[in-house]
C-alpha cells in the first residue's frame, strides 16, 4: 500500500544517462550560473543556451515535450519578477490609471522581466534534465564529490529516503479519516460537520503527522548511533574521472566561459 510518488528519474541508456554523475552535476550547475549571469537582453546568447539544453534533451531520449511540460512548474515563481515591469526607470511603453494610481510600464522593465523569465525557464530545464537522467543516490555521490558539506548531503539523502515514508503515513491517516466519515440513516442529518470543526480535525492530523516524524527521526538517529554513527558521514572513495569525461568537462566549461564573456562584452 504505497503512494505512487513521482520520482523524476527516468531509466534510459542514452549517453546523457551514462555520463559520470559528477560531470553532469558540475555541468548543470555551471550552466545555470552561466545562464543567470548572462546580462539582460543578450537574446542571441539566450538562444544559444536554449538550443544547447534542447539538444541535450533530444540526446537523452527524454524528448523535448517531457522536459518542457515539467518546466512549466517554474512559471509561478517568475511572477516574483513582475514588479520590475513597473518599477524600473526608463522609456515608458504605456501608461494607465488605476483609480488614483498612475501606472507606467517601462521598456527596460519589460526587457528585464522577459530576460529573467526566459533565463529561469532555461535553467529549470537543465535542472530537470539532471534529475531525470541521474538517479538520486548518484546525485548525492556527485554532490559529495564536489565537496558540498557532507552534513547537507546527508540531510538531502535522508529527506529523499523518508519523504516516501512520510507521504505513505499521510495517506494512511487520510484513509483512516475517510473510513470513518459516514452518514446515519436518520433523515435530516447532513454529514460533514462544521467548517471550523473540520479544520480542527485536519489540524490534529497535521500535528500528529509532525509528532510522528519527529519521533521517527529520533528512532532513525538511534539506529544510526547503534551502527557506529558519530556525526561524520563516511563513504567509499570514488574512482577517478575517465579521460573522456575530463575532456568533456573542460570543453563545456570553456564553452560556457566564452559564451558568458561574449554576452558580458557585447550586451552590458
Amino acid at each position: 500500500m504505497h503512494i505512487h510518488f513521482l520520482d523524476p528519474f527516468r531509466e534510459g541508456d542514452s549517453p546523457v544517462h551514462s555520463l559520470d554523475p559528477r560531470v553532469k552535476f558540475i555541468l548543470v550547475v555551471s550552466f545555470i550560473f552561466t545562464t543567470s549571469l548572462t546580462p539582460t537582453g543578450a537574446w542571441p546568447v539566450y538562444l544559444l543556451l536554449l538550443s544547447l539544453v534542447l539538444s541535450v534533451e533530444v540526446g537523452s531520449g527524454l524528448g523535448i515535450g517531457y522536459v518542457l511540460k515539467r518546466a512549466l512548474l517554474a512559471l509561478p515563481f517568475v511572477l516574483a519578477a513582475v514588479p520590475l515591469v513597473l518599477t524600473l526607470p526608463g522609456d515608458p511603453l504605456f501608461t494607465f490609471t488605476l483609480g488614483s494610481l498612475t501606472v507606467t510600464i517601462t521598456q527596460p522593465g519589460v526587457e528585464r522581466f522577459l530576460s529573467i523569465a526566459f533565463k529561469s525557464w532555461i535553467s529549470v530545464q537543465a535542472a530537470i534534465l539532471l534529475a531525470s537522467t541521474t538517479s538520486f543516490p548518484d546525485l548525492l555521490t556527485a554532490m559529495r564529490a564536489v565537496k558540498i558539506p557532507s552534513l547537507l548531503v546527508s540531510i538531502f539523502g535522508l529527506m529523499w529516503r523518508y519523504l516516501f515514508v512520510l507521504a505513505d503515513e499521510a495517506l494512511r491517516l487520510l484513509r483512516a479519516r475517510q473510513a470513518r466519515s459516514g452518514q446515519t440513516d436518520r433523515p435530516g442529518l447532513k454529514p460533514g460537520g462544521s467548517l471550523s470543526w473540520r479544520g480542527r480535525v485536519a489540524g490534529g492530523m497535521a500535528g500528529s503527522l509532525f509528532l510522528r516524524a519527529f519521533e521517527r527521526s529520533d528512532r532513525i538517529y538511534m539506529a544510526m548511533v547503534a551502527r557506529g554513527y558519530d556525526g561524520e558521514v563516511r563513504s567509499t572513495p570514488l574512482p577517478a574521472l575517465q579521460p573522456g569525461s575530463k575532456l568533456l568537462l573542460s570543453a563545456s566549461l570553456l564553452l560556457f566561459l566564452v559564451l558568458l564573456a561574449a554576452a558580458i562584452l557585447f550586451w552590458s
Binding site: A179, G182, P191
Partner: protein, 236 residues
C-alpha cells in the same frame, strides 16, 4: 434479510500494474465471524479497502445491504467500521475523546448523543475514563482498544479488523480476543494469528496472490495442513 457483505467477481489492479485482486467473490451473513488469512501481499488489505469504497475495482461490492458505489459511500462507511492495522493511523486527534467522537460528530448527531455514544464505546472496550488522555502516550494495547472504540461509536453493523493482534503482548492480546468475542457484530478479521482464528472465528477464508483459495469452517481447514503450508500458513 440482506447479507452483511457481498462481493462478486471483484478484480483490482494497482496503478503500477500489479494485479492485487482477481475475481474475488465472498458472502458474509449477519453476525458471522470470519477470518481472512493468507501470506503478506495476498490482497487481504486491498479487499478490505474495497468494502468501504476507498479503492474501487471491477466487480460488485455490497456492504451493510448497500451497493458500494459513489452515492452510497458515506452511508456504507457508517455501517462498516474499519479498524486499521496501525492504531496510530486511526488515532489522529489530540485526545482520545476527540477521536472516538469523530464519527458521530461527522454524522452531525446532537451533542448529547455524541457524548453518550463516546461514553458507551469507551466503556465497551474497557477504557472509560481515558477520554481526556492524549492517545500519543498510550500503550499499543490501549491504542488498539481506543481504535476499536472509534468505530463502535458509529454503531456499525459490520466490524472489519486488519491485523488486530499485531504488536500486542499476551495479556493485551487476550483481553482483545475477549472483547471481540463479546461484541455482537458481523466481523471480518484479516490476520496472521492462527490461534486467534481458531478461538474466535468459526469461518476461515484463505487468500493467496489476489484470489480466494479456500473458504470453509475453521475447524476443517485447520486440519488440512498441506493446504495451510502451501499458502504460507501454519497450524497453531
Amino acid at each position: 434479510m440482506h447479507h452483511s457483505i457481498e462481493v462478486y467477481n471483484l478484480s483490482y489492479k494497482y496503478p503500477d500494474g500489479h494485479q492485487a485482486l482477481s475475481d474475488v467473490s465472498l458472502k458474509i451473513e449477519p453476525c458471522e465471524k470470519v477470518a481472512l488469512v493468507g501470506p503478506n501481499g495476498a490482497g487481504k488489505s486491498t479487499l478490505i479497502l474495497h468494502l468501504i469504497g476507498i479503492l474501487t475495482g471491477q466487480g460488485e461490492v455490497h456492504a451493510g445491504g448497500l451497493p458500494v458505489v459513489k452515492e452510497n459511500l458515506s452511508k456504507v462507511r457508517a455501517r462498516v467500521g474499519l479498524v486499521f492495522q496501525s492504531p496510530d493511523d486511526q488515532l489522529f486527534s489530540p485526545t482520545v475523546y476527540d477521536d472516538v467522537a469523530f464519527g458521530p460528530l461527522y454524522q452531525c448527531l446532537p451533542p448529547d448523543e455524541v457524548r453518550q455514544r463516546v461514553d458507551e464505546a469507551l466503556t465497551t472496550v474497557g477504557m472509560s475514563g481515558y477520554g481526556q488522555r492524549v492517545s500519543h502516550h498510550l500503550s499499543v494495547g490501549e491504542k488498539k482498544r481506543i481504535a476499536i472504540a472509534t468505530v463502535l461509536s458509529m454503531q456499525p453493523e459490520v466490524l472489519v479488523l486488519d491485523e488486530p493482534t499485531s504488536g500486542l503482548d499476551p495479556r493485551a492480546r487476550r483481553s482483545l480476543i475477549n472483547l471481540l468475542h463479546d461484541l455482537p457484530l458481523t466481523m471480518l478479521v484479516s490476520t496472521h494469528d492462527m490461534h486467534l482464528v481458531r478461538e474466535l472465528l468459526p469461518r476461515m477464508v484463505i487468500m493467496d496472490q489476489g484470489r480466494i483459495v479456500a473458504d470453509g469452517s475453521t475447524e476443517q481447514l485447520m486440519e488440512d495442513e498441506a493446504l495451510l503450508r502451501s499458502h504460507g500458513l501454519e497450524k497453531p
